[in-house]
Symmetry: C2
Subunit: 701 residues, 2 copies
């Protein structure tokens, strides 16, 4: 069955309402493009002012269209849009693209116009793209419903496209298309979403995930409207083994402010977007040129690859530079095994390096037999996963035959870098070898692509894709009131498997002393009150109390101090905790991101974590393996791992506790706005962890 977006993205017939005979006007450009590039379906220009445009008869009104067509393109002003949609619907037209700006992005009046339009769309069931969008192109079907002059200026595409472009900005769509076409990337779909009144980014992404013409998706996001839906669409891309390359704008406050001024979506946390991308194996990028280069590279996804690269260079300097850049971008440049080095040394003079990077020197020019032997050795060793070959201009030309044969015989990815003007670039590309032209960009594009390669088999996105259902089921049966106090929060987390410390609640001085005696000295006292969130500042905490007198004294002091700081606080009692042994302190926190829902943050306790922003984020749920990844991502991880002869810490127990925290948070569902353990003390290896303080904050809804 055809996908519901088929009439928008692959229409069999099109009306252009507000048609013009000027190819530079929005009502003329799509007709010019459709006729210029040979669209095979029927085209119906509609405008009472013309009899004919671009050699086609022009109808005076949409009611005159002689068939039930797939798509209407509305090149008319915002104020007239909804009425025209109704007429299209009445005429049996299934889908429409609305170019007009002046809707939700343009103040209150525009928002009202958009609301009216949305109501009509909802009621009619029509499929409407935009408003405020630049339209689409389906390059394989020659459907051009975009007013984008880039199709006239970019290099023409003669081969079948396999890369689809999906952006929330028309200008970005055009800019990336232009760069990528210069590189020769062949496109399938060109989609920009505009205001997404009725069809959002994730809906198009879902279409592309199942589109047989699309093997790679390149996208640009300002704000997603629905994180869960994105998770499902991105997971569908991953399941279909289609690389999804995304640029998310809004890295800085200023950038977010600028994005927000022209989008109407709720802003998600940029770090949570980044975490989501990592978990969904989305290839994140930060630049248009990088997007285009990645699209080019991703076309070679069938080659075997991973993060360990061999660098072969005719220049020692460029070899060193490539090594710097690879390592700086998270790739590995392993020293080659001695036997392989010996093989290479047979053809490389003393002053060329063979350990990796491999500096073949000018030698390649004189000894083509050696090139074949060296490439074969590198294509078959277990020590690496991919090969970068730097040889500019005619030097690459001379290696081309050997590269082509090697690529035919072995599946390993080989990337050629030519900063000159090699004549045989196309030969290489045709035979499975991408050719890059800039050294920095080669690594900037290759490194994320090779990370994608490593993760494509382990399918980390599956747990996330499933969470939509799991979460919905539990939301109504939250097993604890989110307005619980600290003790109850800890009991709840503890019941889910996060180890706590021995503790009791006491309601009087005598009970407090008795509890301390039962727990064993020294103890900690903490006031128990949902009205006193900042206990320490209110004088509500006393540490290291060594005997009954000290406890009795502290009891009185705490109550007096809290009463002074928070006069009418409701006091639930006094919490008596065994004083825990020291260790490395972690903060483990969950929040609800407005886009992606429950998300986890893990970091080291203390003030420097904040200054150094040394935290790791993930969407929930996660398991202990992911918890370990998160801890290892922390720059401070060595503190858990024996840094400078410090004891090894119980990382296994910490991972189990974080996974248990994940289960507890998922079970709480949307009722809790925030759940936090601060600190989770990580003791020496074998001695476990302990949550000393914890908190559940109810959702304000």
């Amino acid at each position: 069955m055809a996908h519901r977006l088929e009439p928008l993205l692959n229409p069999r017939s099109i009306a252009i309402i507000g048609a013009s005979d000027n190819p530079d006007r929005i009502g003329g450009m799509p007709i010019d493009l459709l006729t210029r590039f040979g669209y095979a379906g029927n085209i119906y220009p509609v405008n009472p002012k013309y009899d004919a445009v671009f050699g086609l008869p022009c109808l005076s009104c949409i009611e005159d269209v002689p068939e039930n067509i797939d798509l209407a393109v509305l090149a008319i002003g915002a104020a007239d849009v909804t009425a025209m949609l109704a007429r299209c619907h009445a005429r049996g037209i299934r889908a429409a693209i609305v170019y007009a700006a002046g809707f939700a992005e343009a103040g209150e009046a525009g928002a009202a116009l958009q609301a009216t339009m949305e109501a009509f769309v909802h009621e009619s069931g029509m499929m409407v793209a935009g408003p405020n969008c630049m339209g689409f192109a389906n390059l394989n079907s020659h459907v051009y419903t975009a007013f984008a002059s880039v199709f006239r200026t970019a290099p023409a595409q003669n081969e079948r496209g396999r890369v689809s472009l999906l952006t929330q900005s028309g200008n970005v769509c055009a800019a990336v298309f232009a760069i990528a076409r210069e590189l020769g990337v062949p496109f399938s779909h060109f989609i920009n979403t505009g205001n997404e009144a009725c069809v959002d980014f994730s809906a198009y992404l879902e279409y592309l995930a199942q589109d047989k013409d699309t093997e790679v998706v390149v996208g640009y996001i300002e704000e997603l409207r629905n994180g869960q839906r994105f998770i499902e669409a991105a997971s569908a891309c991953a399941e279909a083994d289609k690389p999804l390359i995304l640029y998310k704008a809004g890295e800085t406050d200023k950038g977010r402010e600028a994005v927000r001024s022209h989008t109407s979506a709720l802003a998600g946390d940029q770090e949570i977007y980044r975490a989501a991308f990592a978990q969904l194996n989305v290839i994140e990028c930060q630049d248009f040129a990088q997007m285009a280069q990645m699209a080019e590279l991703a076309r070679y996804r069938d080659r075997a690859a991973g993060r360990r690269v061999a660098i072969v260079s005719i220049s020692g300097a460029v070899g060193a530079i490539l090594a710097d850049k690879c390592i700086g971008n998270g790739l590995h440049v392993p020293t080659l095994p001695q036997a392989l080095q010996d093989t290479l040394r047979a053809g490389i003079p003393d002053y060329g390096m063979v350990s990796n990077p491999v500096d073949v020197t000018g030698n390649v020019v004189n000894d083509p037999g050696f090139v074949r032997a060296a490439l074969t050795a590198l294509a078959t060793t277990d020590a690496i996963d991919a090969i970068i070959v730097y040889a500019p201009g005619y030097l690459l030309d001379r290696m081309t035959d050997d590269l082509v044969v090697t690529a035919a015989e072995h599946r390993r990815l080989i990337v050629a870098v030519d900063t000159g003007r090699a004549r045989r670039r196309d030969d290489l590309r045709k035979h499975g070898i991408p050719v890059m032209t800039d050294i920095g960009m080669t690594v900037a594009a290759l490194a994320p692509f090779l990370r994608w390669h490593e993760r494509r088999a382990c399918k980390p996105w599956r747990a996330l894709a499933a969470r939509g259902n799991a979460k919905a089921g539990k939301a109504e049966t939250a097993p604890i009131s989110p307005t619980c106090n600290e003790y109850e929060a800890r009991q709840y987390l503890s019941a889910h498997g996060v180890p706590g410390v021995a503790e009791r609640v006491a309601r009087s001085a005598d009970e407090t002393v008795a509890a301390a005696g039962a727990l064993g000295y020294p103890v900690v006292l903490k006031v128990l009150s949902a009205d006193v969130p900042h206990k320490t500042e209110a004088g509500g905490v006393r540490l290291n109390l060594k005997n009954a007198d000290a406890v009795r004294d502290a009891y009185a002091t705490i109550l007096a101090s809290v009463d002074r700081h928070v006069p009418h606080a409701r006091i639930d009692g006094m919490l008596v905790q065994a004083m825990a042994a020291g260790g490395v302190e972690l903060i483990v926190g969950a929040t609800r991101d407005p886009v992606f829902g429950p998300a986890l943050t893990v970091g080291l306790g203390g003030v420097l974590t904040e200054l150094y922003r040394d935290v790791s984020h993930r969407l929930l749920p996660i398991n202990a393996d992911t918890a370990r990844e998160m801890l290892r991502e922390l720059k401070a991880f060595p503190l858990l791992d024996g840094f400078r002869n410090a004891p090894l810490r119980d990382v296994d127990a910490a991972c189990d506790a974080i996974a248990a925290f994940s289960r507890a948070v998922m079970e709480l569902g949307p009722a809790a706005a925030e759940v936090e353990i601060n600190p989770l003390v990580v003791r020496e290896r074998g001695q476990g962890v302990a949550m000393l303080d914890s908190l559940i904050v109810a959702n304000a809804v």
Copy 2:
């Protein structure tokens, strides 16, 4: 008087020894290039095998050259080089370029060949470039002494060049030249230095600093042979207001290893290189494409500019992206003053942003008068220093007249960004407006260039340039033995103005108790011995001793423990210090970099500084202003500055102490390998600083 490198870089006549008639061989390519591009001087090919090459008579030996010529190019094997240099010298030839590899970069035999050659050059006074270099080009004089095919494949240069390229790798020289020529950058000199047996990078840089054809220098460094000489040459560039753009390879261990395998210089610390570049106002870059783009931008150095930029974009999305990138690269994107926003609002619809970035929307197309008014307002406001205009293709064309008029009327730098194919790019460039074509690269090149602009007036390089003489004068009169103990080190630093704590040296238990009584309790005891560098680990330190008994007890414990850990340690006595009040702890250390000499490192004390690499480096000497810059560079600086309601610390006193440390280190001269204060305690504002521990390590020489 002509510079001593003139015969190498601007010869009036040239012999090519080992000439060939094949334009692709190293003995043929320079002759092909010289004749092809119209070199005006005499060319003498030398090779007994030919009668003529490229239409020129070919001499059978160098002795047959009929005049005393400037330059011989040696396209012969390494083994024959020195003998041929001697023959050239005998024939009155002043300078030579040696292409051959197989010298210092190629094991012991090569090193011996190079030593022989160096001895001859030293004795004869001949000026010899290389060996192992690709040769030069002086594009304005049409001198091509390089075997570099890039001159045949890169776009031809028809205008006079003002940018010089100076690299330690021939391949890098060619690669950057190729990219920059595609951008239209016109070159003056093309220089690569090879093994630098007799003429090093800094010597060429000195030449370019005074060369009237060179306005911008773009360079690539693997290792400098002489840091002080580089400091002087780079300072000369700065004094001449010539931007110096440098790429230093060896960012990672692997990259350094690869660089070292083909250079013979001592490796300097990469962070110290970076510090030197910052102090010399060198524009650092990390990519060939970035180098080329910076070279293009630097041609517009006469425009007024600074770090506060206004972004004008026809696309809200691209405006947001540019803001993200500018801020991410250290530029400022200030909110524009309200009056200016009002001016802009007059021509921009409600849904376009006017605060900065300025989203002019499609409006520019319809209202060219507004464009002029908006550009004039931005070119004259005090709120910003530079303007970025994003308009792709025909949109930029439509703005070109207004941009040209604005640039003619105002000196402020305007940078145009065209991701389309605007037809009028050259118009803009001719009228002082650089045109960039990639959004990421625009900011990557612009940000360092604008930082250079900000520092060109404040001349931070002058103190450094002067230090060569200052240092040499003091080296022999070091006022303290560098084998001094901790107490003597502190006395020395204290005498130079670094505040210490009250302390005394005692030689017996009784003297120790008496000293403690005189200083006042509590006190700290530390064993005083040059043989016990790790005092704490050896049990040689006891803190917070509150009375005489505790001191007497600690005295015995320390001596026993030290004796156990370091059996035959020579004990100079016991150090008794007043226990200092707490504060933020800094580490202040000086080392001698093998390339640049005395260098300073400042960071926060404690184990996390190491994990987060949160330190700041400078070449010495520095003053208190630079010390403040260094502290502000620390990510942990907020801890000194009232972070989270912590008290403000005495940053002024810390800066004075660091400047005093600088003076003390410079006076010690090369005798000291390392000087360190750890910690320097920074108390609350007004209460000063105190050096608690310090160390001077003698140079092993």
